[in-house]
Symmetry: C2
Subunit: 401 residues, 2 copies
Amino acid sequence: MHDLRTIRAKSGTNQEGTSAHNRRVVIEAIRLNGPLSRADLARATRLTKQTISNLIESLEADGLVASEDVVRGARGQPSTPYRLVPEGAFSLGVQIDRHLTRVVAVDLMGREVARVVANLPAGGPAEGSKLILGLIETVRRDLAARFPDSVHRLAGLGVAMPGPFGLPPSDDDTWMMAQWQSFPLVETLAAGTGLATSLQNDATACATAERMNGSADGLDHAVCIYFGYGIGAGLILGGELYTGSNRNAGEIGMVLFSRGGTQSPLEHRSSLASLFQHLGLDSATTEAYADVERLTLADDPRILDWLEGAAADMRQAVHMVETIFDPQTVILSGSAPEPLAKRLFEAMFPLIPSNADRPDRSLPRLQIGMVGPWAVALGAAAEPIRRAFDPLFSAILKEAP
Amino acid sequence: MHDLRTIRAKSGTNQEGTSAHNRRVVIEAIRLNGPLSRADLARATRLTKQTISNLIESLEADGLVASEDVVRGARGQPSTPYRLVPEGAFSLGVQIDRHLTRVVAVDLMGREVARVVANLPAGGPAEGSKLILGLIETVRRDLAARFPDSVHRLAGLGVAMPGPFGLPPSDDDTWMMAQWQSFPLVETLAAGTGLATSLQNDATACATAERMNGSADGLDHAVCIYFGYGIGAGLILGGELYTGSNRNAGEIGMVLFSRGGTQSPLEHRSSLASLFQHLGLDSATTEAYADVERLTLADDPRILDWLEGAAADMRQAVHMVETIFDPQTVILSGSAPEPLAKRLFEAMFPLIPSNADRPDRSLPRLQIGMVGPWAVALGAAAEPIRRAFDPLFSAILKEAP
DNA sequence: ACATTTAAGTCAAGCCATTTGACTTAATAG
DNA sequence: CTATTAAGTCAAATGGCTTGACTTAAATGT
């Protein structure tokens, strides 16, 4: 009998796992394709019409799907398409960035239904988490006022903040996020809200947002480059988010790049932080962001100067992730002022030739994100939704007793 | 009704999927932990004792597991551990490299049971594939002579060759692999052998080998750097092999690295090909390999010179994959002469500090592979075994009718 | 018009893998 | 030598998917 040495093994599954998987498959199919009839779903999922009927009945009873108007026009009995019910589930998300925090609520479709933004106090995570709990309460009340049912339909709380996680504080930590990373944030927020709480880095959250309602809709292999104070990549690999063994996958900001003979992390030259530094702006002020926007629109030479160098590094970063991940597409997303993001995107062309130049491509090699500055917060919020409703391998497995 | 536009959806599952998954989970548990009793398996997989008994009975009938001697020594009824039966399944693998080809047969444990190696004829894939079919036939006969039952227990044929796949031939193709890549190799070998045939790149195959019987045993997140004529990375992400959207993931040899102000693909400076070039050896001769081994053992200054530069690039490559993938460990494997591989490995220390320097590490950041020069062939052969017996998400899904 | 064809969706019985709970077996501990 | 602990079996029950026949309802074609 092995009880001291823990046995390494995957968990088995049973009929509950089967049914859980099939429910998720139905939900995802409708999410990706729009309203579908039972017959459509049966064909697409390879389940029988009867099974689909049972699942639809149960999903409808749970308020997750609803029928639309009967569709005529083809031979045979007219079909009844089913759509997702946005109010079928809700979820909360928190973005913690260097100087501000955003809290949003989203519905089953990942669409924003409530939001708050606030500056983070200087007091660090002890103070900050109290503030955040207050903001969550505000959003929750707002949500409850508009959707009274939402109280029983909260999938959880997703938190996103800059990584990397679990490392000893480095002397390179100019943004003082280290104290946040050593703070028991998930535990504090879980205790304070009573919600199932999960944590991911901002780039991963951004990828989730782009996948839910953006440029990565329905893609199984995509890299989402998040350009903000720092820079990172959110990874969608094989249809699922990939976060590595310690949730630090995709930290491309720390990859060493060479320019002009010197080697330094990408983040030191291609990030908002690097731009602030280049411009001599104090990133602690809220004006820095607006200043950048203004200077960009004015074609300030210092911006153009920085852009040239940043774009060169970004081209290389795109080449690197294409070569390493072989994705269907790369998405440039982030929280930079929109005009700057647009300029940077444009300055990145022409891209460096890579393995991604295939004759059979259907998507552009590089796309710009579609979600906007709230992407990270929305992605954080969408994470519990996806975990609860997406077909995942882990979802079929039996849980600990 | 949607019949023209194909509906994007995952497949559903049913009881067969459940049982298929549970069988695989049992097999994997025994593979990872060594012989286990039914009670152990029930605890580890969270299935009931009865279910495990049913599965074991079926697996035993299929000749995949067998009981060992009863274990006494603890309270209660003595337990009967079950082990995998190596002869329960076999599989064939082909490695195609620039100038040679290896064919092996492996058993359920991934251990070699037959092998052949031959030089590839100059005639290209049309000639070459005929030769390979002949070698496969030889190995098959050898296998059948030793294990008459193996005829009915062949899981398939795995093929491994250098990537990238599906790209227009580049002018950089100094090894003339392009004609192989445009040749319908899988179809030819499948038709010629009647076996289910699959293709992967050499680095991926190497990772499979290290996972089956090497340094990556049981790891869910590992990067296997394959150092051969070229250089690539095999990716084990989230417990499964990751190959990207076009089987080209991990082609780190094509990532651009800077050294001394110039930028070039890693492969141009860190690969056997680069060493041959550095030494002025003709890589088309079989002696080149032996020459390198001899020169390495003689501490030839040109080798030491090359080593210094290559090690610098490799350090950077390790830093890059650690930062991007957040793996549990990185494995240096490949088909270089053993003394050279060892020297290179040693010259890579000290590693560049990275996110992988965690206080909670249990594995070394960089390990050397344990499989040896036949790693790619063995990995190619192991692939059908793993696909048939490992717990995979895809294995629970219903197949096309 | 009206029969034919086509397709959506339901019904009820059946199937199959897991579960349940009681039971048997067989060892060690005291 | 009894109590305890644990492995493993037995037989019935459960639950989710499947099967095949059936109903409903529209478009098509003569």
